[in-house]
């Protein structure tokens, strides 16, 4: 039987699974959908493309630096990290596993909106409390500790929690 051949690029994808979002350390940049492309050029240079969740996401520079450090430690000294805006990031790119890890970490994962996300005064989405699983929660603020999250409070266990808001 032939051994499974893993290309260099597959290897790099696997290595980058260990690079996490500095703000949400339970999510890797793969789970988040922030890592878009990996390409190894003939001269050995590795080109990695990442996309921001929000335009002003201050984690981008840290993530780029972490990617370079990780790959340097694994024997890839020549790495270039590029930023890609289009197609724009959406919460659809969050992996299922990532969503489960978010909830276990105490952040409610994004849920599909009931109506048009661009409708101005639509009904709020039902968000489940990540601590006691109650659906009796209320939106406190559309904006929270980071741009990608909203702040909610559970009406049952009364705990405030972050909700990773839906972006489409």
């Amino acid at each position: 039987m032939l051994p499974k051949v893993t290309t260099q690029e597959e290897n790099i994808w696997r290595l980058l699974e260990e690079v996490c979002d500095p703000e949400i350390p339970v999510l890797s940049i793969l789970d988040l959908g922030v890592l878009r492309h990996v390409q190894v050029r003939e001269d050995g240079q590795v080109q990695v493309t990442i996309t921001p969740t929000y335009s002003g996401c201050p984690a981008m520079n840290t993530i780029a630096a972490d990617v370079k450090l990780k790959l340097l430690a694994e024997g890839y000294p020549n790495v270039q990290v590029d930023l890609q805006l289009s197609p724009a990031w959406t919460t659809d790119w969050l992996s299922e596993e990532g969503k489960q890890r978010l909830e276990a970490y105490g952040i409610a994962p994004p849920v599909e909106p009931n109506g048009d996300i661009h409708a101005l005064f639509g009904r709020d989405t039902t968000v489940r409390c990540p601590l006691c699983q109650s659906e009796n929660t209320r939106l406190v603020s559309q904006f929270s500790s980071t741009a990608c999250k909203a702040m909610y409070q559970c009406q049952e266990c009364l705990e405030p929690f972050d909700y990773f808001k839906c972006l489409k």
């Binding site: 929000y54 590029d82 904006f143 741009a147």
Partner: protein, 267 residues
């Protein structure tokens, strides 16, 4: 640290005239987001309640993110070796192209909310259209920021309603803000020669159409907020052509201080 962008443009194939127009326009959009983002960031630590302090800081961050993408592109379009930092920190007030509205001081919370509401409606509608801009880079930036702007507009619209249809005091405050700020709303839709040329070339939408949709949204929100849409107000113009109110100079003095005092300083 500036990360290189992957979305290349057809910029190399543009005529020098078109390139200059796109440079001017991109710069104007960048200045607008920068100045409003800076104003909102002045609230950081001073908001009326923690949640709204965070909201303003978040919106400021979105705007600054958009600003960086735009300045980086403007610098590439200009092709004179200037960087995003040079464009943000080393230009004089008369070179800024933001409309007067966004440089107006924060005032009280009602002033800030109303300024944001008047701008958000315009910003949201403009970005929605710019997603189809034949310039791929501007379209990509607009697509990214449009998603964020929809949250901004929702936030400021809800607050206009809450203040207008709130207590006697909150209504008085938002009416006072309206008396003062409405006169700066017309400039958003007044097309400069650069904007007219780009519209003719099919790069940007007709602002008269945006105005119509903006009017509808404002009327709807004001009706819920029990506020009257002001009529026959003389509109102040000038910011988009470099004629600013005195407030911009003070804002820039703070914004640019570090780079002026210690040129080239980095973290």
């Amino acid at each position: 640290m500036e990360l290189a962008h992957t979305t290349n443009t057809a910029a190399q194939s543009y005529s020098p005239e078109l390139r200059e127009l796109l440079f001017q326009y991109t710069l104007q959009l960048a200045d607008t987001s920068l100045i409003l983002g800076h104003r909102l960031s002045e609230w950081c630590g001073h908001g009326p309640i923690l949640e709204q302090d965070l909201a303003m800081a978040n919106i400021a961050l979105d705007l600054l993110g958009e600003t960086r993408s735009l300045y980086q592109y403007a610098a590439e379009l200009e092709g004179q070796g200037r960087t995003e930092d040079d464009l943000a920190f080393l230009r004089e007030a008369v070179e800024y192209r933001n409309p007067l509205l966004v440089e107006q001081p924060n005032g009280d919370f009602a002033d800030t909310i109303l300024r944001q509401f008047l701008f958000d409606g315009f910003h949201y509608l403009l970005l929605k259209q710019l997603q189809n801009c034949p310039d791929k880079r501007l379209a990509a930036i607009a697509t990214k920021s449009f998603k964020e702007a929809s949250y901004h507009l929702k936030w400021s619209s809800e607050w206009v309603i809450r203040l207008g249809d709130g207590t006697e005091e909150s209504k008085h405050r938002i009416e006072k803000a309206l008396d003062h700020l409405w006169r700066y709303s017309g400039e958003l839709f007044q097309m400069t020669p650069v904007e007219q040329e780009l519209h003719k070339a099919g790069f940007i939408p007709d602002y008269a159409q945006l105005k119509q949709q903006w009017d509808e949204h404002v009327a709807k929100v004001f009706a819920e907020a029990t506020l009257e849409v002001p009529k026959n107000v003389f509109m102040q113009l000038g910011g988009k052509t470099g004629l600013h109110t005195e407030h911009l100079g003070y804002l820039l003095a703070e914004l640019q201080y570090l780079q002026r005092a210690y040129p080239g300083l980095e973290w």
